[in-house]
Amino acid sequence: MPVFCQLCWSAIVDADGRIYIRNWQGGILSGGFEKNPKPIFTEGKNQLEIQNLREDWDHFEPLLSSLLRRMPVLETLEILKLVNCPETFTPDMKCIMGESPVVQGYFVLAGMNSAGLSLGGGAGKFLAEWMVYGYPTENVWELDLQRFGALQSSRTFLRHRVMEVMPLMYDLKVPRWDFQTGRQLRTSPLYDRLDAQGARWMEKHGFERPKYFVPPNKDLLALEQSKTFYKPDWFDIVESEVKCCKEAVCVIDMSSFTKFEITSTGDQALESLQYLFSNDLDVPVGHIVHTGMLNECGGYENDCSIARLNKRSFFMISPTDQQVHCWAWLNKYMPKDSNLLLEDVTWKYTALNLIGPRAVDVLSELSYAPMTPDHFPTLFCKEMSVGYANGIRVMSMTHTGEPGFMLYIPIEYALHVYNEVMSVGQKYGIRNAGYYALRSLRIEKFFAFWGQDLNTLTTPLECGGESRVKLEKGIDFIGRDALLQQKQNGVYKRLAMFILDDHDTDLDLWPWWGEPIYRNGKYAGKTTSSAYSYTLERHVCLGYVHNFSEDNGEEQVVTADFINRGEYEIDIAGHRFQAKAKLYPVTSFFTHKRRKDDVELSDFHGK
């Protein structure tokens, strides 16, 4: 195959045939990723057997067939050798790297999912930086070892999941795809109830979360047919859930959130939290503070909400996949003091999010307490009784900017409270909703989310989070210096919200994330998340705008003026759509109006 060998110095990939072909010492090397992988070393077999794997031609047969179909002339070539060697795979098809959450200074780089050769250089560089400077120069959270916990390390889970992951190597990867194996590991006590009501589930950190609820009379597409980059089949379902959140009240089970409690005998809790978090936590008891947990460079290690339960006790809510990372971070920076107690209470509470203008009515009816803003201002936390259950932590926030409450319910009361909420809520038009509705609401209100829009390399100043930083709170918290400097010098990127103008939701490809942003025709960054806003009837994308110098491509300061003066386009699969950039949410006007209408209407009906 002289021609081939001369032309092809890189590899040929036939994704449909699941094979790759490359030049190898003047001959041909071909392999692939079969549909029926054989997991090994999950039964505790001796890993030294790695050397002794026999050639398995029958297993290779489909790959050989597609190789000969692609290059029939190879039939006459002689076989040199069939190499059968194991590869390592991870539960989400991304490698694992970084510092162990339990042994400080123990670094890991493994599970390359057969891409070790191509990723080796970069992975090595980042790991080296990590070990030397304490952090890599790029955001690698998606690869961070700490995205997994012990819960993803059971033999059976790994065995089943890697069998699903490996064939995906050459499969089309569609947005919002959920793994089918290794599911239903962590569930809320309401799982069965919600499932019976049509919940469709996604999984985060092993926890099942409802995506949306399929009404009884509606059929969704089969799993395989539902793969799309266009308007998905759940569009109408989520629309009605969002509408219900806007006009009545919805309940979303958000039990998966990571929940920590920090308590101390004296002021130790407050002191260490003041050092760890950028916002001022010395607030009156019952107040909730949104705050970042920053690193030395001012970047977000975590973005969370902290409620002050009493003078010496704090309740901290962070994203689901922070369970391992945040725990490790807190343990690393909190003083070793037996009077300071950090406890993971994630499993102790079921979280229900009551979103919507009528949430007030539902809750006041259930608690016999006035819940109006006068009595219960926003970002406030109270232990109350709901139905028969006592000690429910009610917080006036919804993670979406919509009115409503989060209920943190001790798990044994979960079913009772849920039942009460649903039965009382009936006359207010209550219904279940899922995370897709939440996401749409959140993004149209420009709520950035850690792990998608925020990461270890973005600072509060770059994403409009100035209000969550108290530089002058009198404590030199982690990242303060970096923020001070950034405040002085200006930021080099800025999170903005883009509203797509000429995008046809029904016919055009949807933005999902990672689409290039063009400012005045020049590349300026990528989107980090997007959702369809049912209120604006437009797609909304969040993304960072950079200011690359025309001369040398260096990053320059980005000002609000720079953002506002630009003409923007979002490139979706090669097609550019006009977009308006905003630095602040725009929907308050619409929602306010709607809510006013709603109130009048309901007054008319009477309660």
Binding site: W57, D58, E61, L64, T76, I79
Partner: protein, 578 residues
């Protein structure tokens, strides 16, 4: 063309039985002759026509007509094998769903359908064969007990409509071991259904130690949760009767209460053989008693009567470690598949058929009845000239005194009273009981070379020789692992050659893998084998597309359970004891 399978001497009984009651409704006698039959062939007939030799056609025709005249034991080539010779249609009319006369049926269809050749496609054949298949794998990591059973495959193919065979499989939860059984019903499916639901409970209770029985009784008494006794492994089509569940439970409870009372205080080891025999006898006794006592609920009352007046054979295996007990009542069979050192397969029979081919059974019957009955007890290879199996559950017509039979029928519901079959008293019925459900129990200690056990109703054994059965299953079970891996090492092989070889191997594998179930594989052979012992698709297709009304003439219900043993575990047991 080939003749339908006629296995064994049993099918050769064309002579009309005398003394049968006359048929009530007359059916116009067809005097039309052979050409009518063959030239305007209705579709269903055409399907089976090639299966029948011309020379036999007249016989079928003749007997079929004859059957309508006199309403005697129908003897087209196969129907003579009906277990209960006395199977006039009125009996079915009430016992099962009404059956159309097959001749009438073909005549009726004649004008409706145009003659055309029609074959089932391989996927259609598969969907028929696989409709009832079931597999159970004993969990790998049971932790506590290492099971000598790897798992089992089971399947059944109906010939009767509805099928009269039943099957059961369950793991004993309070004692060790697993129970597997096949049940062949006759004169309806009521009895085989009842036995398939109840027998294992009787066996499991018989095996329970005194303390466990007490515990269960106390739990029932005080309304506490019961200890689970059996873990059933059922195909979705294998149902349990909800209505009779309470009644069955009460009978079972009476049984264990008696076991508790009978306990002498010596906690002697429970003998499995004795437990099996007691369980069989007790259940049959309960079936008989329930029918005599009746039930205030009219549905249940009719049900218990149907159970008692129909019959069923049973072949049950109890496997616990290396101890294999087979309890057999009737003519189903348990066959052990043994792999010799040279890899060949041989069959070891673990049960004796209880029928006229068994000298010892003939001897037993003659001894159990006065000398003057010696000639009438078994006539034409049938019990009292009627029943093929010599042991069975139910069949109270062969067990109760004439008085009792009359009394029960008269006080029974009208359906029973109108039934000619139940009213009919067997000829020469002098010294009942003539029939017993007592099983013959065979014990076998498993060896590493014992690879599998086949339990099957006579529907299989009359179409296939036991040696063929064991060979086909043996080759099927090992075939999946037998293919040696290919290694290139040292030889000059081109990619094209290798590809050809691999494709060939895959084709071979997929033909073995066409059946994922050894029982299905066996049925495929039993129904579709040609004279060379290979599955002939055309034949298979014809046999499976026979209309319900005709199927029973070409084959019996077939029910098969193939139990696979774990040779390593069996070997380990052996080593342990050495």
């Amino acid at each position: 063309m080939e003749r339908p399978r006629r296995a064994g001497p049993r099918s050769c009984s064309p002579s009309p039985g005398a003394g049968m009651p006359p048929r009530r409704q007359g059916i116009p006698v067809r005097t039309s002759s052979l050409p009518l039959f063959s030239d305007a062939m209705p579709a269903p007939t055409q399907l089976f026509f090639p299966l029948i030799r011309n020379c036999e056609l007249s016989r079928i025709y003749g007997t079929a007509c004859y059957c309508h005249h006199k309403h005697l034991c129908c003897s087209p080539p196969y129907i003579a094998q009906n277990r209960l010779r006395y199977t006039p249609h009125p009996a079915y009319a009430t016992f099962c769903r009404p059956r159309e006369n097959w001749w009438q049926y073909t005549q009726g269809r004649r004008y409706a359908s145009t003659p055309q050749k029609f074959y089932l496609t391989p996927p259609q054949v598969n969907s028929i064969l696989k409709a009832n298949e079931y597999s159970f794998k004993v969990p790998e990591f049971d932790g506590k007990n290492v099971s000598s059973i790897l798992g089992f495959d089971s399947n059944q193919l109906p010939a009767n409509a509805p099928i009269e065979d039943r099957r059961s499989a369950a793991t004993c939860l309070q004692t060790r071991g697993m129970l597997l059984g096949v049940f062949d019903g006759h004169a309806g499916c009521a009895c085989s259904q009842a036995v398939s639901e109840r027998l294992f409970y009787y066996i499991a209770v018989s095996l329970l130690p005194h303390e466990t029985l007490l515990e269960i009784e106390n739990a029932v008494e005080s309304g506490r949760a019961l200890l689970p006794i059996l873990q059933w492994h059922k195909h979705p089509n294998d149902y349990f009767s909800k209505e009779a569940s309470k009644l069955y439970f009460n009978s079972l409870r009476t049984y264990w209460q008696e076991l508790i009372d009978l306990n002498t205080g010596e906690s002697a080891d429970i003998d499995v053989k004795e437990a099996l025999i007691n369980a069989f006898k007790r259940l049959d006794n309960d079936i008989s008693l329930e029918a005599q006592v009746g039930d205030p609920n009219s549905f249940l009352n009719y049900l218990v009567l149907r159970v008692a007046f129909s019959g069923a054979t049973a072949c049950v295996a109890h496997v616990d470690g290396v101890d294999l007990h087979v309890a057999n009542t009737g003519d189903s069979r348990a066959m052990l598949g043994v792999q010799e050192e040279d890899g060949s397969w041989s069959a070891v029979t673990l049960s004796n058929d209880h029928n006229a081919q068994n000298e010892r059974e003939l001897e037993r019957l003659k001894l159990e009845h006065p000398k003057n009955e010696a000639k009438s007890v078994v006539k034409q290879d049938r019990l009292l000239g009627l029943l093929m199996p010599f042991r069975a559950f139910g069949d109270v017509k062969f067990k109760w005194s004439i008085d009792l039979q009359k009394r029960v029928i008269e006080s029974g519901p009208d359906q029973l009273n109108d039934n000619e079959y139940t009213k009919f008293i067997p000829p020469n019925y002098h010294t009942p009981p003539y029939l017993t459900a007592e099983p013959e129990v065979t014990y076998h200690r498993l060896r590493p070379q014992d690879k599998f056990l086949v339990l099957a109703t006579d529907g299989l054994w009359e179409t296939m020789h036991r040696q063929d059965v064991v060979r086909i299953v043996g080759e099927y079970l090992t075939g999946m692992h037998q293919q040696q891996p290919i290694a290139v090492g040292g030889y000059k092989v081109t990619l094209g050659q290798m590809h050809g070889l691999l494709t060939e191997r895959r084709a071979k594998m997929s033909s073995v893998f066409e059946d994922q179930n050894a029982a299905t594989h066996l049925i495929r052979h039993a129904v579709g084998n040609n004279e060379f012992g290979a599955v002939d698709h055309e034949r298979l297709s014809k046999m499976l597309s026979l209309p319900e009304e005709l199927a029973r003439m070409y084959r019996d219900d077939i029910t098969i359970i193939v139990v696979q043993f774990n040779s390593h575990v069996v070997g380990a047991y052996q080593n342990q004891e050495q």
